[in-house]
Amino acid sequence: MLLKRIIPCLDVNEGRVVKGVQYVDHVDAGDPVEVARLYDAQEADEITFLDITASHEGRRILLDVVARTAESVFMPLTVGGGVRSLEDVRNLLNAGADKVSVMTAAVTDPDLVADATARIGSANLVLAIDARAVSDDGGVLVPSERGAAAEPPAGAALAPLVPGESRWEVCTHGGRQPTGIDAVAWAVAMAEAGAGEILLTSMDRDGTRVGYDLPMLRAVCDAVPIPVIASGGGGSAEDMAAALDDGAEGGHAQAALAASIFHFKQTTVGEVKRRLLELGIPVRPPSDAAA
């Protein structure tokens, strides 16, 4: 059977890992390649690099980091952040990324996902969605000021809130820019356009370690026919188990991504997986050698 995945994520800037990441001895915590090696030894199921580099120069540095990583570890690597065009996607795949994720560019250029997947196939293109819950104050939803998108794509605009219903709005630019796009409708539209997987981040939960946004996850997972990676808020193995649980209260996700709980030595991928197996979540069992 297909197993659920645990995915550590690194933020990378100008070729270096950002955030005060702490690691055990002799790991250069700033070098993405070293950190990828560490997670490879822990038998992570995939690793994700999120590039936050703004400069053009930095993009070339990233390609080098991706190439060195692909030559150093024998595990799947997803790269996202600042991917603007089909050419960017191709360059990253050729450098050694196994999957490439797009976010803002998919909003600003609605044809990008369809064009890219027609060329490279859908399996290697991930659509990243950053979303926030829209507050239900009992009134009519006031559409937020439009962000990068001129108009939300047909059928994906946020509908007025019905009391008791939840909605989530797609954001860009690190969650600062609301778009007026409904996250569930957007996920459905992009899956139809050919996206192979969705990386769904709750901007309300990101960095909080209080658990994933399960209602949002469930709404997206149940609406799309492609795999979904849960992101934002994962603070423990129990949180991941909830996100991956296929039951009525679970998140129904196929993979759980987390950053800080692994980076700060709070736990290892091996420890998390052993706990998930105890909790009845089917993950790839860590070998005796896994940290």
């Binding site: 024998f74 027609a118 790839r284």
Partner: protein, 216 residues
């Protein structure tokens, strides 16, 4: 005097990450050469055809570069072939990814998209992405070096549907029985990515190295 390690042509035709495949083969004691010209494919002791992406474009690129004929010649000469992902799919008769495209027809069967529902009628998420268990069967020489069951990394929306069951030497479960590994004589191919499958991937490439050595 120790003999030099077998030279393996890793066919580079612009589809997929040949470097990580070459690195993984070197880790298993082989001497990989990333090659794009037919002569180099004909010279090698073994041929590895990786590949991700679109079947039609990949088939066209191999033909344009004359690499498909070179691979066939290497096969006729009995060089052990290892196909990875598209390198498995291209062996079959045709694929319907972006219109009907002929494959090499070395193995009988076709390549089709996963159905939207599994055998029991439940929705099936496509692509098939992640680690899945593969059970090996049959008596191909590659299998002597492998455990009966191991976990590998898959990422694909299309899969081979072999016309004959005896070609299938590794089975995974995804919406029904999935041909994860197929083989006949000097052809062995897998739908998953050993170069991305950590230690289980290394075990498979070690088995390939052993088989190449036997065939020399």
């Amino acid at each position: 005097m120790p003999t030099a390690p077998p030279v393996i042509a890793v066919v580079d035709y612009g589809f997929g990450n040949v470097r990580s495949v070459a690195k993984a083969l070197a880790r298993s004691g082989l001497a990989p050469e990333v090659v794009g010209d037919p002569a180099a494919v004909r010279r090698a002791d073994g041929v590895v055809l990786p590949g991700v992406g679109n079947f039609a474009d990949a088939a066209a690129s191999l033909r344009e570069k004359g690499l498909d004929d070179a691979v066939r010649e290497a096969l006729s000469a009995g060089r052990p072939y290892l196909g990875l992902c598209l390198g498995l799919q291209l062996l079959f008769e045709d694929s319907d990814e972006h219109g009907q495209t002929p494959g090499w027809g070395i193995l009988p069967g076709v390549v089709r998209r996963f159905p939207a529902r599994d055998a029991a009628g439940a929705p099936l998420r496509v692509p098939h992405i992640g680690w899945n268990q593969v059970r090996f069967r049959g008596d191909h020489p590659m299998l002597s070096g492998l455990p009966e069951e191991d976990c590998y990394y898959f990422v694909h929306a299309y899969r081979a549907v072999p016309a004959r069951d005896d070609l299938v030497v590794g089975v995974a479960d995804y919406g029904g029985e999935l041909a994860a590994a197929v083989a006949r004589e000097r052809v062995f191919a897998v739908q998953f990515h050993p170069e991305k499958s950590q230690m289980s991937g290394k075990r498979l490439l070690d088995a390939y190295a052993g088989w190449v050595e036997q065939c020399r």
